[in-house]
Point group: C2
Chain length 343, copies 2
């Protein structure tokens, strides 16, 4: 659907949606006067027709394309501890620096604050585009930010990102691959220590984990939600390993929780991988500097960030519209996974 | 050379550079009409004379104090792996978010690029102030950025930061405390795995390490410089532990190298702390999720970032001028340090 539609006007949108031109304008300027349902219909029609407000007049004239915005809705203290985000940002920065662009970074407390921030950044012509992350199901940012006409790339599965051009990685296949690998080693009791259940990509992994376990005739309900923090990963591991039917393998949603899990196993006198296999996710430097080194679902997070930044320049230039898939995390076996001990 | 030169005017700059007042004005407002060579000459003369444009009239009027600049001169891929920087940035963000300000982040390849970037950001009124980090001895950024009149906070010991208001932590005392603690446990062969030797704070720690060792009658030359990366920490640890007079204790310049060092000890079949004591630096979450948990020179890096951001607002408001010292990293003994095994 990359055909440009230069002749589509606001009149076409109004006619197809069965409303006045004024209503279309109000909807896109986020003004009161149209109901939520009508606004949604107008957006949907505009999407179908490929129309955005003031397409050329508004364009990017007078804006600093030199600055790209990124709001992150996580507590500041957590941000410093999550290897994923920092590698991701470093990848974005690599592409930006090559084009003499800079990243405007703001931590926000909730999604309403994030929406208001993007409105301010865009209307004040501070940013030339934005990178939207951490999509939730039915994400409340989609309607107002699309209405704003903000050029943005959404990081997440297209089912979550509501029509924004997106960059995504296949978490479902990766989660399924992780389960199949551990099952092939002989594990029957496999657990998962996941991220926050409200986050779209954690939800996708959780569903794929359960579906694959069930397909293999195994019980896929051994899943714990955490906030991605090492200490929570340690707590979840301890509670899994102390339970009545101890898992013989655990998949983690990031690296730091897997490192914490390995320390819990050592503290409990359990051998890795003989007593318990541990599989990390993301595969930052951390996985290679532990003993034993951690097996991981590995992807190049730095490269992911680079692709996102490149896609944003494509959106701003009008050349990137759909969904771009980056490589699926691939199993990288190291010393922390093996067949379960026979009992 | 801290004498202000209030009577220098645009006429002096124009005369010395051999151009018209209009040309000076055009150069400083980044307008076309002067060649790149002439613009450079004008900036150079202004720097020599200590002149900045419209010093008071311009002040902060019309600037976005809402945006604060931070250029970091490290490879992007390293940034994602260094817990210090990310916790530091998260502290800055916490204070900025409370004042509806955002951080403009750019990775640069060298200090010349950093200087040019700050000139552009300041002249284009993009930023209201800047945070300068990673000071070197005789740092080349000091003269041009002071000439620019950029409100900035320098993160580093006042002996390094050339008259910029600074925020610093007492690395010398902390390094000395680390040595005294290990010596008090009975260690005689103590090694240090440090950061890049060109960095001011690494140099301060190296000198304090050697001086304290010598004061205690010990050999302080077992020091290795690295780029702060886990894999280099592992390599340095391996080479120290394979040497003829193996150290019984190692101090690291950050956490991730200490985690890597612990894995090397495990890989070589050495017990921590019986065969070798390991002492980390910074004390991020990593130190508490390993087994045994790592003893560390501990400080609140997030709080350090907060103090830096607050100091910058003080500089912009004209209330912060001198050097602000944040708490010295304090010894936090955990399971990775103990008396050496008797041999």
């Amino acid at each position: 659907m990359n055909v440009p539609a230069p002749r589509v006007t606001i009149n076409d949108v109004a006619a197809r949606a069965g409303v006045s031109k004024g209503a279309v304008s109000m909807a896109f300027n986020n003004r009161p006067g149209v109901s939520a349902a009508t606004r949604e219909r107008i957006f949907e029609v505009a999407r179908q027709l490929g129309w955005t407000p003031h397409q050329t007049a508004r364009s990017l004239a007078g804006r600093r394309v030199g600055i790209v915005g990124l709001a992150i809705c996580r507590p500041a203290r957590l941000l410093g501890l999550e290897p994923f985000y920092m590698e991701f940002i470093s990848g974005i920065e690599d592409v930006l620096a090559g084009r003499s662009c800079s990243l405007l970074l703001r931590l926000v407390r909730d999604l309403d604050e994030e929406i208001a921030l993007y409105e301010e950044w865009w209307r004040s012509r501070t940013i030339g585009g934005a990178i939207l992350v951490d999509f939730h199901r039915e994400d409340p940012r989609i309607a107002p930010l699309r209405a704003l006409g903000l050029p943005a790339v959404a990081v997440g599965h297209p089912s979550l990102t509501g029509g924004f051009p997106s960059v995504w990685t296949d978490d479902a296949t990766a989660a399924s691959d992780a389960v199949r690998y551990l099952a092939a080693l002989g594990h029957r009791r496999i657990a998962r220590v996941g991220g926050p259940s409200g986050l779209g990509h954690s939800g996708i992994r959780a569903a794929a984990f359960e579906a694959t376990m069930s397909e293999l005739g195994l019980d896929g309900r051994r899943q714990v939600s955490t906030g991605f923090v090492g200490e929570e990963g340690a707590r979840a591991t301890r509670s899994l390993l102390l339970g009545p039917e101890r898992p013989t393998a655990i998949v983690y949603d990031n690296d730091i929780m897997a490192v914490a899990g390995a320390a819990v196993a050592a503290e409990m006198g359990l051998a890795v991988p003989d007593d318990v296999s541990l599989l990390a996710w993301d595969d930052s430097q951390l996985c290679r500097i532990t003993h034993p080194p951690l097996s991981a679902m590995s992807h190049d997070v730095h490269h992911f960030g680079e692709e996102v930044a490149r896609a944003l320049f494509g959106v701003i230039a009008g050349t990137h519209k759909g969904a771009l898939q980056v490589p699926t995390p691939a199993l990288t076996p190291r010393g922390s996974t093996g067949p379960p001990r026979r009992t």
